[in-house]
Symmetry: C2
């Protein structure tokens, strides 16, 4: 058995929900009758999307999580994943840990890894996920209407705070550090929330590049503006303990949260509150959709506007 075959073995577990899984020229899938198939693909590179030396198990988790998060933002139920990976060396221990993290998350969400490709090269992970959603029920970016509430799940900013801690830019206590680094390295795709938001949310996106940047995509697609209240942004203990200026920036422009940002008519407030309780996941109303250009204004408690600077994260930025 060559090194190559050895590595491939780690991704050759049975895929019971596939007609045919790993081991032929293609996988064969039988989508549920009448369902549409949602597909997303994301590529992760060492040094750009994750720090060199990131724990392999967590990286396996995160690589799949960021893709599943796109399905969540679409309101799709996750079904299948495909992994293409380049590895600088055939490091069996690393690969076993990576596979463990990936399969554990897949198992939690009923996702089968049904195929892939392994090669030698600079560490690069490209995953494609497939999910299912009934026709007309997908959560689109283009659906936010004037007067809708703007909601966010979880505690945006924690992942960026975890990254700042790892980089030594901020010093968190042990509990907060562990919590925020886990949010960075092992985000939880909000798949159940996405499915439950069908028929409730008018627009949705996941927060991968920062809240304002991603909200901007919704506003642009919907042709509306937004007004957010900084005081309404949810704060965990970890966020409350961090320096104020950093927290604002991380909440509004920190990446890697993989929470859902969505809009919904005020008539749905009670249902959404009940959903938060049912899922044990904070869902916070942070503002409203307003007429105007596709831009989000963020107001402080005293009515002054926050200057968010550049909100998103540009992979081609010269940073």
């Amino acid at each position: 058995m060559t090194e190559f075959e050895l590595i491939n073995r780690y991704f050759n577990r049975p895929a019971p929900s596939a007609v045919l899984g790993v081991g032929d020229d293609c996988a064969l899938l039988a989508p549920s009758p009448g369902m549409q198939v949602a597909v997303s693909t994301d590529m992760l590179l060492e040094g750009r999307h994750f720090l060199p030396g990131t724990d392999a198990r967590r990286l396996g988790h995160k690589s799949l999580a960021v893709n599943l998060s796109d399905l969540a933002a679409m309101g799709a139920a996750a079904r299948w994943a495909f992994l293409a990976i380049a590895l600088p060396a055939a490091d069996e221990q690393w690969m076993a840990a990576f596979a463990e993290g990936l399969y554990a998350l897949a198992g939690e969400h009923g996702v089968d890894l049904a195929g892939g490709d392994t090669t030698r090269g600079p560490l690069c992970i490209a995953i494609t996920v497939l999910g299912e959603v009934p026709p007309g029920k997908a959560l689109r970016r283009a659906g936010a209407g004037v007067g809708d509430d703007v909601w966010v799940s979880g505690m945006p900013g924690e992942a960026a705070l975890g990254l700042a801690h790892l980089r030594g830019e901020v010093k968190l206590d042990a509990a907060a550090a562990a919590h925020c680094v886990a949010r960075l390295e092992a985000p939880q795709p909000r798949l159940e929330l996405g499915v439950r938001l069908r028929g409730l949310a008018s627009g949705a996106i996941d927060i991968s590049d920062g809240l304002l940047g991603d909200l901007g995509h919704v506003l642009k697609a919907s042709g509306v503006g937004a007004q957010l209240q900084l005081a309404l942004m949810p704060r965990s203990d970890a966020l409350r303990a961090a320096p104020e200026a950093l927290v604002e920036r991380f909440q509004l422009a920190g990446g890697d949260d993989y929470e859902l940002l969505f809009t919904a008519a005020p008539a749905h407030r009670a249902e959404i509150a009940a959903l938060a309780t049912g899922l044990g996941l904070p869902l916070t109303r942070i503002g409203a959709i307003v007429p105007g250009p596709p831009r989000a204004r963020v107001l402080r408690a005293d009515g002054r506007e926050v200057d968010p600077g550049r909100g998103g994260f540009d992979h081609f930025a010269s940073a």
Copy 2:
């Protein structure tokens, strides 16, 4: 518009066969009722899967072609593609040419690019393709039966000959060089052949890593052996003009041909010959499936056996 958005623009053409194409968290597809979905993903790296400096237009073509070839080997009709690409620089001219090559091939086969991801990094291209095939009609590796003929499409070995020419290991005349380099850099996925082989072929695979290596996968999956006649291997003018020892090696173990290798009962010989005529594509019977261990013996005209050495191409080989 940032560099990143600029690059993304090249892959944002309409995808009319998708319910929703590029521009949301996921693409939305509506598979044809009752069809199964075939999925394959392949990652291509500079220096490993293609030579540095490969013409961008041809690379766009080839990146999609090698994936479509997997659908062809499955007998699936190609429908959609997803591209994840890392680029060392935001080179607009390169990207325009790459996109042109990719979209041209997609257009030829009715494939819509319905989504993707672009980032900065060492040149790396991961494409996932989706096709459709009726239940029970997919061409599997595990189906070859004792007594079946072994067939191959096209002229295996030409791509390896083109590579040898580019590397200066062999000197071809201008016409042969152009032909063989085109076979290497712009292979034609045999999609129509794959679809037409439904119900005819008992086993199939595409030749990406060399004929014997890929045949070995069919034999292993089917639990049979094979006996091939070297004299039956098809030879184009380019192959006939090259040194004999090289040609044998390239025919049996050269990679990158993306021809189909398939098995079929002798009862189908006339139909397959008619198919070759109809498609204008040589289909050559090169041997037969025999009982025994999953190994292919290749016999010379005088009955001596060719020692193929290591037939396949191992991405983790220490070469």
